[in-house]
Symmetry: C2
Subunit: 114 residues, 2 copies
Amino acid sequence: MENITEMLKGVLEGCVLEIISRGETYGYEITQQLRELGFTDVVEGTVYTITMRLEKNNLVDIKKKPSTKGPPRKFYTLNAAGQEHLEIFWKKWEFIASKINELKTKIKSKGGVI
Amino acid sequence: MENITEMLKGVLEGCVLEIISRGETYGYEITQQLRELGFTDVVEGTVYTITMRLEKNNLVDIKKKPSTKGPPRKFYTLNAAGQEHLEIFWKKWEFIASKINELKTKIKSKGGVI
DNA sequence: GATGCTATTCTGCGTTACTATATACCGGTA
DNA sequence: TACCGGTATATAGTAACGCAGAATAGCATC
């Protein structure tokens, strides 16, 4: 799927939050999980800016651990604020998705009644 | 629903396209329809930037008509390119929505198997 | 002519994801 | 040892989008 980047705005951060909530993980792995999900074009840099933002907003706890495969990894876990943020994200998503689907399936006559 | 603006990026344009596809309409009316839909905080300026973009990208035809209630209205209708754009939008939406919902409902264990 | 409503237009701003690149660390191999 | 590919974090610059806020226009009514 090409050129969905604009539609991912605001959504990607929620996905990252959700992925972190599943268990301690780090940037590179998050990127791979997003790709497996289907967002194949997501690159490390994008995820990095998101994790930096989460960090800045104090939504995650961070632990640095050594790796046998490269430089030390920064592992993220959701804190209480992050959990709350995630719940709010899902509420927003459900709201928007329901509205969009409503628009999509609405009978296609302007007056509403035939 | 407050502060959903980031999640509306790329989506709002599709909504406007869909509304225009229902029948000839103008900026102010589009704004009202979006509000009725549930996006209560959408303002005229936002819709204006979208219609300007549609115009610039040649996705709409324009007809100016006088109004008894103010300055002349600019009525928009979708042209062929706009129709195509709208179909692509819905495909993108379905793709993203399915992926997000997949993420949302996925069993919450990292390995996937219990 | 002052006010109020409808309606369009315009500008500047903040947020977000992407591109492209740099840096660092390790294992394997020649 | 010197190089390379995979892993992993970091940063600067860019473009797109929606929003706030204000200006302007036209008409009705008082």
